[in-house]
Every structure is written in C-alpha cells, then in structure tokens.
Symmetry: C2
DNA sequence: ACAGTGATGTCAGTTACTGACATAGAAAGT
DNA sequence: ACTTTCTATGTCAGTAACTGACATCACTGT
C-alpha cells in the first residue's frame, strides 16, 4: 500500500474537466478542483502551470510525433506532401475516446480563455512543423504559409470529426483528405 | 481648463506599450502602467478588460470593417473573392504607423500570453467573416475552411509586411496577393 | 537502523481583477 | 446665480490565481 493514492495528475485532470463542465471554467476555483481530487491547491500547480493547462497537458507529445513524421518522409517528398504527412500523424495520434474529447471540446467552446490556450497550442505546432521543414532544407518563405494553411485544414477537419461523432463513420484522416480537396476546389476561383 | 488631462486611454496604451518593451510584459504591473499614465490601477481596468487587452483595443473596429466589406460585394462574387475582399479591407484599415506596429509586434512576439490574445482576435475575425458569408446565403460547410485559410494567408502577409518595413516597398495588399498566389502554387502538389 | 528522496502539505506573499462607495469639477436645468 | 445631475476618477476592501520557502513522512537503499 503506497502512501498516496496513485495517479494524482489524472485525478486532477478528471476533476477539472468535470467541474468546468458542471459550473463553467470561471466559476470553478483551483481549490475546488484540488479538493475533489483529494489534494491541495499547491499540488495542482506542481502538475499544471496554470488553471487552463490542465486541459492541454498531453499536447507536448504531439510535438515529437509531428517532428518524427516529418523526419521520416522520403527526401523526394514535396513540401505539400510532407505537411500532409504531419497532419495525418497528428490525426492518428488523437486518442480514440470520443466522450472525453467531446466533453473537452464542449468546455473549451464555452470559454474564450480556453480557446486562447488551444489556439496557442496550434500555433506552437505550426512553429514546430515549420522548423522541421526548414531543417530539411526546404526553401524558406512559402513554408510558413503552407504550414499555417495545413493547420487550418486540420482544425476544420478535427472540429467536424468531433461534431459528427456517433452519427457519421468518417475517420479523422478521411475528413482531413476531404477538407484538403475542398480547399483546392474553392481556391480555384 | 478641464478637470483631467485628456486622452486617458491613449496615455494608458502608450505607458503600457513602453513598459512592456522596457521590462517585459510579466515584469510590468498594472499599478506601474497607471502610475506612468498619471492614473490609478482601478481606472486602467475601467478602460481595458485586462492587462493584455491594452494592446488589442482598436481591433473591435476591424469587425465592422470586415462585415461592411463582405456586405458591399456584388451578389455575383464567388466566396473566394468575397474573402479576398474582406482581407483587403482589413489590410487597408491597418494604421500606417510602422514604428508603433513594429514595437507592438515585437512585444507580442516575446510573450505567449499576448500571442494567445492575438490569436483569439484573429479567431474572432474568422467567426465574423464566416457568419457574414453564411448570412449571404453561401452554402455551408466549405465556408469555414475558406475563411480559416484566408486568415492564415493574411497573418503571413502581415508578418512579412511588418518584418520588412523600411527596406522593402511592398504594400500590405500587394503582399496579400502574393501570398495567395504562392498558396495556390504550393497546393498544386 | 538510518540517512536520503520525493510527493505532498502549510503558509505567507504578490498581483490581477471586481464591486461598492466617495468626490469634485463640469454641464445642464430652472 | 443656484441647484441638480452627470461623469471620470479615486479609495478601499475583497477574491482568487499563482509562487517561493519550508515542513512532513512513508518509502528506498545501504
């Protein structure tokens, strides 16, 4: 028998998500989260940098995944295809827990501060992918544009995927492809 | 002679921008900003919702501009061209004060919290444009994708414009066009 | 048995932000 | 001219996010 209940971080995450949903993000105090998890406020801040980060921890993993995806592309691949590969790797890394993701996205959708954090995480991914492409020697100024657009496509596909869970059987990689094709079509005008 | 020095909001903006640059955003307290502006902390929060917003006030104006730009497009215009018109209207509304914009962007570039806010403002613009397009009866699911991509293009063009000030003579609308063409080219692969 | 380690608790402090009320000129009404 | 009302600001007290310093105590290895 260990001194403390296991998985403190997980308990804090779950307590936070539930409370944010029940009362809203602003109406929830960190002290309440900690109490529900059987811990103290101070311990919360040892695991998470701030009150928002509790919903976004895990995203750090995405950085490596994306970097690896870029690195493992053949040298002959076009910048466009490399970006697509990165997006597909991200899509594949999304945990397949629809209830959890839906709850999380619903909470985020209701609070601008959480949206800010989500947008920052995406921007951070843009930076990582851009850097990875440049280190591959891909010539400069278009890269950022391409990556920025790629993430926009990913965001749209991800939103659709979460929104249509239960009903539609389309997978996230499928939706990604569809969104890319849509974009090409609509840019033709 | 009036009771108070005029332009309290402007003084607060200037004091904040200067202090953020001198000491960094986190190292600056609102009390310090207010003191430099000859006011009190409480008054700061009457003008700005929070410590970050002082750098982003003004953006509210952009919403109307963009909505008007969309509304004034001919009914025959394609969704793509409407979005381009909205982006060009945004570009035209940027105040032509390079020193100010550079200082502001430099401050934002150094602080994640400020980046979050900037990203949220952009997301808000995406929402406004998307809504304006949908109210024009433009069919649904592709719109968000188109607008999201459009803003990504705008961001890249704007960054380039700020970065190349002094040296290059390219205007923001020009850079916008160039970025759009680049995107079309690179998506062809 | 005992010293060290690591996850947690306790506590005090700073600062962002808010609500309630006070004040003093300026403007407006009579 | 006198009074009332309006408005931008100040004062003050309070909440809650976040941080640093130090304490605790079961477990671990020697």
């Amino acid at each position: 028998m260990s001194r403390w209940e296991p998985n403190a971080r997980g308990r804090l995450e779950q307590a936070a998500l539930d409370l944010y949903q029940e009362r809203g993000f602003e109406q929830t105090t960190v002290a309440e989260i900690a109490e529900r998890a059987g811990l103290t406020e101070r311990t919360f801040f040892r695991y998470f940098a701030d009150k928002r980060e509790v919903l976004f921890w895990g995203q750090g993993r995405l950085h490596e995944i994306v970097v690896n995806a870029v690195a493992s592309q053949p040298v002959t691949a076009s910048p466009f295809n490399i970006v697509v590969a990165a997006l597909e790797a991200m899509a594949a890394a999304v945990p397949d827990r629809p209830e959890f993701l839906q709850q999380r996205q619903a909470v985020i959708a209701q609070n601008p501060e959480l949206q800010e954090r989500e947008l920052l995480k995406m921007a951070s991914l843009i930076g990582v992918i851009t850097e990875a492409l440049q280190q591959r020697g891909i010539p400069g100024p278009t890269v950022r544009l391409l990556v920025e657009t790629g993430i926009a496509v990913y965001r749209v596909a991800f939103t659709r995927w979460v929104d249509e869970k239960e009903k539609g059987p389309r997978t996230l990689p499928q939706l990604l492809r569809e969104a890319l094709d849509e974009l090409k079509a609509v840019l033709a005008f």
